[in-house]
């Protein structure tokens, strides 16, 4: 895990720019936060902010089951409003 410490304000500011990149990664492949982090080359702690923000605003939802390692997978969902 990287501990590159960016301030929260700066991390969440990137949510809009990361959103389409994350949605592209999730196309047909629900993923855990570490998997998304690897795909983006970004720290998982930052990805948590982006994914949870996207979840809050209706872009992703979690799958029911947790992986053996203890992670939820997140999948893209169609949003009604753009």
């Amino acid at each position: 895990m990287t501990t590159a410490n960016r301030e929260i304000r700066e991390i969440v500011r990137d949510e809009h720019i990361m959103r389409n990149r994350i949605l592209r990664l999730l196309e047909g492949r629900p993923s855990t936060i570490p998997e998304i982090a690897e795909g983006l080359g970004a720290p998982p702690s930052e990805v948590t902010y982006w994914v949870m923000g996207m979840r809050k605003y209706g872009y992703v939802r979690e799958e029911k089951e947790v992986t053996d390692e203890g992670y939820y997978r997140y999948q893209a969902i169609e949003r009604e409003i753009g």
Partner: protein, 947 residues
């Protein structure tokens, strides 16, 4: 705010803060028949309690027991609640108190907002969500939390973003940057087009005053705001043109004279309002200076044509080769108003001997001929350009491209003083242009044609008042040989024939705010009024002219204030102070000096790629927070959003004041040995409460560091409490109990997880608390008496706790997935600041002091001011409610003893309702309830305000 705009109201009691204590005091007083004004600084009532998961020791759901009280507070007929408002000062007055209150603008009309959240869903600005203890983002447009009361959106605006504020055209620069960041390029284009149709031209040739003010300029360099505009323009124009919807005609015709940025922008706005607009243009091609002067390597003709097509596509007609000088004749053609926007197309003369020799031309004529493709005998010639501004540089670089043998620029100014942009000078130099500074022309020599120029040394350009008034030394400063001389020494409008009053510089005299001339239906705008400026300024004045002409023709007041109304520019230092560290994000490649071969007319910079554009937009600091991108305005089904709403001042006369301002939490980063803020899986007790709440920020209790469901969670009690080193010797009373609550809830939510609590003491002082503690132990929570000395982080995000095991006397290290710091509480110092001169006495720890806690709880040192709940010292929920009830009784007794002011609770609702700036709250509904007020005044429910 002006005094006459002040809303003056009278209440029996003012309650500050609407947490559980404030609500309790207010409700009790209301039930007794007193008129109470409640002021809450957040956008919802409810305080901290509504954000909790469950309450100890009953494990009742915090929302389920808070929301009825929140609803009752808002709907109580004797209570008026102002949310998103702040008390600024309280002073004693005639036995009572006078409070000044600031109602912050929500930018959402409360009575119209239905709480649908669509604005949030489309908002382009993400910031940390303080209501979720910063575990997730929220939007600039937001409803504080799902159970907010009132459930109304608020838009966070801290001012006008600096780029937007400094755009003369009125383009919401921050807005389009934010739209690009979200990948919404077409919307970004349309947002620019809302201000001016010249999206492509400004994207290429704007001098970008926005960038000079960009806050990021204080870090690695400003955002490339202009190039982002070019990017969205190129994206838009690359698509097939779609016929725009033409607005329904309003039956009126307006004539515009001149098709430069001012004329085109005015025509665009007027046509969008339904006017039939015709532009008359003297030149053979439309576009003004953009078409006739700006060299194509900076602004290609196709781009200007695309922008002009925006205007003609919505029905504006342009008649070229039509020089207008007779305004009466235009009016006779049925035009209800005329806008004169003829620019500055006459080159200023130097007034020196020999100026009429052949081979001496004005820069405007030279550039125009080059742009219109006329034959210019430049090849191989020695070209001399006279002037130090950007026009001179454009002429020099154009001559270079027309194969001049040599090009020299003579300027009055030294290199440092030259008005031309430094990068333009650098580019010209890189192309081979040479410069001679601090010299003026004495005379030109030659027979029929110019042969040489005799120079004088210029010692100063401006006089003491900063006006252009060059001074020369007597000595000659040499002679320059030249075959072609281009004079770029200023420009003025060809304004003589219009019969309108003009200034000595030839510009038209108009009312600066409305742009109306002395003939009421004739307006003038752009450089013809201001003198030579830039495209964006001329466009902005064209927009102003359209606004005013529309008002004038509809018989409405030409309201300059309304046209110009906006929030103040956000302060750069304040923006930068929001973060203490910044990741370095270098600005796009610095402008490279381009080396075009002579004769090559291609653009001197490339359009950004999509990746470059996104990276550039990602550097934006969201200065004003809301970007004014208008996405929320466009989607709101209730049309509730008004980004021009204003702050209001309220002055309340009250008989008594109750301070219910609560407490603040200990900032966990003050214990650096625990790594809060550094180690992602170290969180605070409040964050754990959010993770466990039904409205939690995540889908489950998972680690913020990587989303893993934790197997082993440690709690560290007394973080920041009973700690002399931090100046807080007091026990915070609630942290043991909330941690035990967390233990029980976690063991319910994650049955397989291990829970370990590191403690020095567990304090369980009230009814049922000890049983609750025993129950947690019985469920499997492991209580370790030990002092944690430090925490370190492993590569997998797990945490190593080093602690002294008091029972075994050993120093031990254990590993956990996640650590919860049971942070203590601190006094909220806001209450004391309300009383000028520090009249309010605080106790030795900084809490609001009670004059005699033992026998007179709630009473402060100021007679008539009471403290309710945790503002007087940390209390859990039941104790807070009890204390707040007591404070209400004290306040009631005080009012009975000292008499009640003549209340006029209805007035506030009525006043705010009459003021559309606050969102046009409807007239107050009046309900009589409870015991008749002592003064017999009517009771009121401030509907629309008190929600």
């Amino acid at each position: 705010m002006k005094d006459d705009a002040l809303n003056r109201v009278k209440y029996d009691a003012l309650v500050i803060g609407s947490g559980i204590s404030g609500m309790e005091s207010a409700l009790k007083l209301g039930d007794m028949g007193y008129k109470v004004l409640v002021v809450e600084k957040e956008a919802s009532v409810g305080g901290k309690m509504i954000l909790l998961s469950k309450v100890f020791p009953t494990l009742d759901c915090a929302s389920c027991i808070s929301t009825p009280k929140m609803g009752a507070t808002i709907h109580h007929p004797n209570l008026t609640v102002l949310t998103y408002a702040e008390v600024e000062t309280i002073e004693r007055q005639d036995g009572g108190f006078r409070a000044r209150i600031k109602q912050k603008p929500r930018f959402v009309v409360e009575t119209a907002c239905t709480g649908c959240r669509q604005c949030e869903m489309v908002c382009k600005v993400a910031v940390p969500d303080e209501f979720n203890a910063d575990l997730v983002s929220r939007r600039a447009a937001h409803i504080a939390f799902p159970q907010a009361v009132p459930k109304k959106a608020v838009i966070e605006r801290q001012g006008t973003s600096r780029c937007t504020f400094n755009c003369p055209a009125g383009i919401k620069a921050h807005g389009y940057v934010a739209l690009v960041r979200s990948g919404e390029y077409e919307k970004a284009f349309q947002l620019v087009a809302d201000a001016t149709p010249l999206v492509g031209s400004l994207g290429r040739a704007c001098y970008a005053p926005c960038e000079s003010e960009c806050s990021r300029g204080n870090l690695e360099g400003p955002l490339s705001i202009r190039r982002l505009k070019r990017f969205v323009a190129d994206m838009h124009y690359a698509k097939p043109r779609v016929a725009p919807e033409t607005p329904p005609a309003n039956g009126m015709k307006v004539a515009v004279v001149g098709s430069g940025p001012a004329g085109l922008t005015a025509a665009w706005h007027l046509a969008r309002k339904g006017y039939e607009v015709k532009i008359f243009e003297a030149a053979p091609q439309p576009g003004g200076m953009m078409r006739l002067a700006l060299p194509p390597y900076r602004l290609p003709i196709e781009v200007v044509e695309q922008d002009i097509a925006n205007v003609t596509d919505i029905g504006v007609t342009i008649q070229t080769n039509s020089r207008i000088e007779d305004l009466e004749a235009l009016k006779a053609q049925g035009f209800s108003a005329v806008l004169v926007a003829i620019g500055t197309h006459l080159g200023a003369k130097l007034r020196v001997p020999g100026e009429d020799l052949q081979g001496i031309v004005r820069a405007t004529e030279f550039l125009r001929a080059a742009k219109l493709g006329e034959r210019l005998e430049v090849a191989g010639k020695r070209v001399v350009v006279i002037g130090g501004g950007n026009v001179a540089i454009d002429a020099a670089r154009t001559a270079m491209r027309l194969h001049a043998g040599s090009v020299e620029v003579l300027s009055l100014e030294s290199l440092k003083e030259m008005p031309a942009h430094p990068w333009e000078i650098a580019e010209a130099k890189a192309e081979g242009v040479t410069f001679r500074h601090s010299c003026g022309v004495r005379d030109f020599e030659g027979d029929e044609r110019v042969r040489s120029i005799n120079l004088l040394r210029c010692i100063s350009v401006l006089d003491e008042k900063g006006r252009f008034n060059p001074k020369y030394s007597d000595k000659r400063a040499g002679t320059v040989e030249g075959d072609l001389v281009v004079v770029a020494a200023g420009m003025r409008p060809d304004s003589g024939e219009f019969g309108l009053p003009i200034n000595p510089s030839g510009t038209f005299q108009v009312d600066k705010g409305t742009l109306q001339t002395c003939i009421p239906d004739v307006f003038a705008a752009g450089d013809a009024v201001a003198g030579p400026t830039m495209i964006t300024s001329a466009a902005g004045e064209g927009r102003r002219a359209a606004f005013m002409i529309d008002r004038w023709l509809h018989g409405q007041a030409m309201d300059v204030e309304e046209f110009e109304r906006r929030l103040e520019m956000v302060d750069k230092e304040a923006v930068l102070a929001r973060q203490s560290t910044y990741r370095e994000l270098p600005a796009g490649a610095p402008r490279e000096a381009v080396k075009l071969a002579p004769g090559e007319f291609y653009p001197d910079e490339e359009t950004m790629t999509e990746v470059e554009a996104l990276d550039a937009a990602a550097r934006c600091l969201d200065c004003g927070v809301c970007s004014e991108c208008n996405s929320c305005v466009d989607i709101c089904p209730a049309h509730a959003i008004d980004l021009k709403m204003q702050e209001q001042e309220i002055e309340a006369e009250v008989g008594t004041v109750l301070l219910a301002t609560g407490y603040t939490l200990f900032p966990a980063d003050l214990k650096p040995q625990y790594g809060y803020g550094k180690f992602k899986n170290v969180i605070t007790g409040m964050q754990m409460d959010r993770l466990l709440a039904p409205t939690r920020p995540y889908n489950a209790v998972v680690r913020p560091g990587d989303g893993k469901v934790p197997d082993s969670i440690a709690f560290i009690l007394c973080t920041g409490s009973r700690d002399e080193t931090l100046g807080n010797p007091m026990c915070s009373r609630i942290c043991c109990m909330y941690s035990i609550k967390h233990n029980q809830l976690i063991m319910g939510a994650l049955p397989l997880a291990d829970v370990t609590v590191y403690y020095m003491d567990v304090r369980t002082p009230s009814k049922g608390y000890n049983e609750f503690y025993e129950q947690a132990k019985g469920m499997g929570a492991n209580f370790v008496k030990g002092r944690v000395a430090s925490i370190s982080e492993k590569d997998n995000g797990n945490l190593l706790l080093r602690y002294e095991d008091i029972e075994n006397g050993t120093v031990t290290e254990t590993e956990h997935d996640m650590v919860v710091l049971a942070v203590g509480v601190r006094p909220n110092d806001e209450a004391a600041r309300l009383f000028p001169g520090n009249d309010l006495r605080l106790d030795e720890f900084g809490w609001v002091g009670e004059s005699n806690e033992d026998v007179n709880p709630g009473a402060t040192n100021i007679s008539g001011v009471f403290v309710a709940g945790a503002a007087s010292g940390v209390k859990d929920i039941p104790d807070s409610i009890l204390h707040a009830g007591g404070a209400a009784a004290q306040a009631a007794a005080y009012l009975e003893r000292h008499g009640r002011p003549a209340t006029d609770a209805a007035a506030l609702a009525e006043k705010l309702a009459a003021e559309p700036a606050n969102g046009g709250a409807p007239a107050a509904s009046t309900t009589e309830t409870g015991p008749a007020s002592a003064t017999g005044s009517s009771t009121a429910k401030a509907a629309g305000v008190a929600r």
